[in-house]
């Protein structure tokens, strides 16, 4: 894979921390390259380090060793302010618990990342509406999260993740709180999105992993060869 085709490059990435006097090796020496488009699933048992790895790729956490390079930038040495700018422009997050802001409407939630990115108001409203319509929430603009179903909230969260048109979407157990029908819809949506950008998904769901172009199996903080 050439450098141009690579969006994420992990070199000997490790995350160790102390818990109760013991060193926990949440992630321990991962090397991997992930291309600029397609869907990658990270699978493994609970506590294997899947989410920790995802958080380091998304600049939400720092490795204790190794190098995380995303979209040409090495994240390890960046200051907090630069990490914030990086997340704003490069990453869209989808959380298991949706994490929509409760007192904002669907439209306002989707507009929010663009507001942080100084997109003019008219433009961000237009784009937020267009994204919500594309994700089947055209009649839910004014609804607050507590007025939406689980599937609708997650689609709203995906629309928010796409707001600044980032090259990378990171999804942590995106179907963990959904029924199978809503989950299926989210799988298909993430697969469709991955045609034009990289989608990295942490999941326990076999069906979602089967849709991925690449599956990374992780156990005890290390990638397993399959």
């Amino acid at each position: 894979m050439s450098e141009k085709e690579t969006l994420i490059e992990l070199k000997d990435v490790a995350k160790h921390y102390k818990k109760g006097g013991e060193v926990v090796k949440a992630v321990d020496g991962i090397n991997q390259k992930i291309p600029t488009t397609g869907m990658v699933a990270i699978v493994g048992p609970s506590g294997s380090g899947k989410s920790t790895l995802l958080h380091m790729i998304g600049a939400m956490d720092r490795p204790t060793r190794g190098e995380v390079r995303v979209a040409g930038r090495v994240l390890n040495g960046l200051a907090e302010k630069d990490l914030t700018r990086f997340r704003r422009a490069t990453v869209g997050f989808v959380f298991q618990t949706f994490n929509l802001i409760p007192n904002l409407t669907a439209l306002e939630n989707v507009s929010l990342p663009m507001e942080f990115n100084n997109v003019p108001k008219d433009e961000r409203l237009q784009r937020a509406k267009s994204l919500l319509e594309r994700l089947g929430l055209g009649k839910r603009f004014k609804h607050r999260p507590n007025e939406l179903s689980g599937g609708e909230m997650q689609r709203g969260a995906i629309a928010r993740a796409l707001a600044n048109d980032p090259p990378l979407i990171l999804a942590d157990e995106p179907t963990g709180n959904l029924d199978s029908q809503a989950g299926q819809m989210i799988y298909e949506l993430l697969k469709e999105i991955s045609k034009e950008r990289t989608v990295v998904v942490v999941t326990h769901a076999e069906a979602l992993a089967q849709l991925a172009d690449k599956v990374l199996h992780i156990r005890d903080g290390r990638l397993q060869m399959t």
Partner: protein, 184 residues
């Protein structure tokens, strides 16, 4: 007026314990002393109320920010700067405090006289001889509040809400987005 004391004594002998006999000077001293005592009590009560208000606003705004740690973590994860989050949360806290103050002022204007009158009467009558009770009950207590008093209260509430929110924010904003989302 040289024989006030002897006249008072003779009148007292005639009327017995039914009434106090007071010369104008004594009555004036009594009124002034009572007035001063009531004023001191009112100032002490107001100071205590302002102190309690400060404590309540401080802790309410502090808890509000802590309860929003997950939301703040999410905002940071999707690209909000620490400054942006701080301005947003502080503005909300101040707006809520001002709104709460306005609602309290409206209630005070509507119910103040009805409430403060009986509170004043019941608060002072146990300490006075029984024949003064009709006099105390006939007094009316004003629910007027001076501009400087109101301004002072608003300032105290403003400072308490800013300090409470800022302390809560300082605890949450310095965390990474991930830590903030897990913060209890």
């Amino acid at each position: 007026m040289d024989n006030v004391a002897s006249v008072t004594k003779k009148l007292q002998e005639v009327v017995g314990d039914v009434a106090d006999i007071q010369a104008p000077k004594g009555a004036a001293v009594f009124t002034a002393t009572t007035s001063r005592t009531v004023t001191r009590l009112a100032v002490a009560g107001a100071t205590l109320a302002a102190f309690l208000m400060t404590i309540v606003i401080f802790f309410v705004t502090l808890m509000q920010v802590r309860e929003r740690a997950r939301e703040i973590g999410t905002l940071k994860a999707i690209g909000a700067s620490d400054g942006g989050v701080t301005v947003e949360v502080l503005t909300e806290a101040i707006a809520l405090t001002i709104l709460g103050g306005l609602v309290a002022l409206i209630f005070f204007k509507i119910l103040g006289e009805t409430i403060t009158g009986p509170v004043f009467t019941f608060g002072i009558t146990p300490f006075l001889p029984s024949h003064y009770q009709p006099l105390v009950q006939s007094l009316s207590v004003s629910n007027e509040i001076s501009a400087s008093g109101l301004g002072g209260l608003v300032l105290i509430a403003f400072v308490a809400s800013v300090v409470g929110s800022a302390y809560g924010l300082w605890q949450v904003v310095r965390l990474s987005p991930l830590e903030a989302m897990k913060h209890e």
